[in-house]
Subunit: 394 residues, 2 copies
Amino acid sequence: MKIEAVDFFYLSMPQVTDEADGSQDALLVRVVAGGHVGWGECEASPLVSIAAFVTPMSHGVCRPVSDSVLGQEINGPEDIARISALVEYNSMDLLQAPHTLSGVEMALWDLLGKARGEPVWRMLGYARSEPKVPYASVLFGDTPQQTLERARASLANGFVAGKFGWGPIGRGTPADDADHFMAAREGLGKDGILLVDVGQIWGEDVDAAAARLTALNDAGALWLEEPFHGSAYEAYGALTDRLPEGGVRLAGGEAAHNVFMARHLIDYGKVGYVQIDCGRIGGIGPAHKVAKYAVEKGVTFVNHTFTSHLALSASLQPYAGLADHRICEYPAEPKPLALDFVANHFDRDGNGEIAAPNAPGLGIEVSEAGMRKYIRTVEIRVDGELIHESGKSI
Amino acid sequence: MKIEAVDFFYLSMPQVTDEADGSQDALLVRVVAGGHVGWGECEASPLVSIAAFVTPMSHGVCRPVSDSVLGQEINGPEDIARISALVEYNSMDLLQAPHTLSGVEMALWDLLGKARGEPVWRMLGYARSEPKVPYASVLFGDTPQQTLERARASLANGFVAGKFGWGPIGRGTPADDADHFMAAREGLGKDGILLVDVGQIWGEDVDAAAARLTALNDAGALWLEEPFHGSAYEAYGALTDRLPEGGVRLAGGEAAHNVFMARHLIDYGKVGYVQIDCGRIGGIGPAHKVAKYAVEKGVTFVNHTFTSHLALSASLQPYAGLADHRICEYPAEPKPLALDFVANHFDRDGNGEIAAPNAPGLGIEVSEAGMRKYIRTVEIRVDGELIHESGKSI
């Protein structure tokens, strides 16, 4: 099959706010080859990722992503790897390229799976799709009382695992933060899985992070996520060396835009959990490489997903068959946009668990009708020539 | 002073080819504040870097670069650092942001220097601008004879240092490559400084690279540049461990888009030379941090510049005062575009050396008339609204 067309659809809510909620916009990618259609989703900044696909070439290793994709043969997983390697080399100097490639690569897996009648996870070599324990992500409250109420609401909504993020943590004293951690624990109950995400608040200040470790451990937090800048491996490693034995571990990796970066967070940063966003790392193939590496190193793989069920399905594939890697991020309360363009959500089962769909490709049906009210038109002209136009014909 | 305007100018040659020559296009940035004007240059992919400045916000930490720049106060170097930190945090999830910021940051230094009547290197704390030994970059020939002729031509043109890059190296046998290395040495003469750049050809294959070490060493190469993917620190480190004592060292770092990445290439990759492109790492401030770190670690700092003398001046500032860090990359034969938009090139002195200008700011006068014949117009519309237009009024 030959890749005949790659189309982008930029969706957004009528109003995008400054909350750290990635479901406020989306960049969908539709790939057509051999009469089959595949869908993927880039994370994030739709306009910039579109520009990286269509930009004029700057020089031999700063080419638009389209140069390495359009017209290529796609007949098996090895072609997806080959196309990805082409993009990596030919767009070496185009920083945004991995984010653009991510959605295209997912769509290629989806298309290939549909053409073969196979789920992506089976093409990756897994015998079955194992159930995962989804966690709901909520923000810490402004007060410990609010945090407590949010934890109770999360539990009442059937989530045994809850991730609390951002908010006041790291902006006041360690004692203030401790009150929030204990409130979250109280709300989730003693058996709940408590996860804490601080969104890089400490830059590379190991002491500031270390001042919260006892409280995190006392609250029984399973992980502390992104204490530092995504590339601050030394700080991750130094904080890991100060963790209490058998207690809270570090988690990170969402910023990785290639396999090396994820490996470094494991090897140099010594994280216990490596969190990969398939919409950033270059798609499913690189994420699967990270999952295999994590197994080898005794680290737990976790998806990073804060958008739609299309992105969720893609992000589960790389570790779908790893029965011991149980936890998964689940966009529990996305914006309507992320709900409306997917026709078949996969809900939690009777145990409150989810699994990558047992269906061809990613198993997700994209609804073009559901996209319509969120679509944004984009036009890019260079020297008067229209080099990109999207959103008009939906 | 308040930042009133940031304007982009996308220039390119009428025809851009697939050769690895970064001077085929350019993205210039003009910043206006307090009646002063500063200029900078982003490297690379002009359209994508423009998009990262003007794109609609995706969420709170995926904002356009403009959000953290326009309207900010700029009264001293600490403001430049503050604005850079704002961009880093607010555009955390926008991968292209560091490339966009790079040109803006340079322009802020230029503007501040002009407002104060001080060269940028003096604002960085250096007492003087030390002379540097420029090397000319040429491509390896298709045959050793061609390589020999190119080396002779480079020497005849007054360059005691020559960098040979890309071409057939790594695509044939180690013996084929050895012939090219010896041809380059012969052409440069026994006192010439021989540098070899292989453009990531071996991915992370340490053995393939190691098979060339004896020949490189016999040819007296000072460094082997980018044997591997920019993030393959483990491979860099493993190859360093196999280097002959006192001989050729590794060089790399041009892909670094933050200070951490450059530090990691030093600490984990054990390079002897760290090469920083001010147009990618976020500008002059981060590059200066790397220069200080290199001094601390006994590693030599080198600029990476393959475009204009505006980019060259910016890239010399971070290590202008480091007398022992002598070598510098010099765009010896850029395309006419890169020559025409700069009104005052800084040529080699009687010793064949160059130095960062002793003049306010970057000391480079940008010629808008010289830009005119290369300017490309850009228009970006989202939902019909023109969110960016450039190139029409030059």
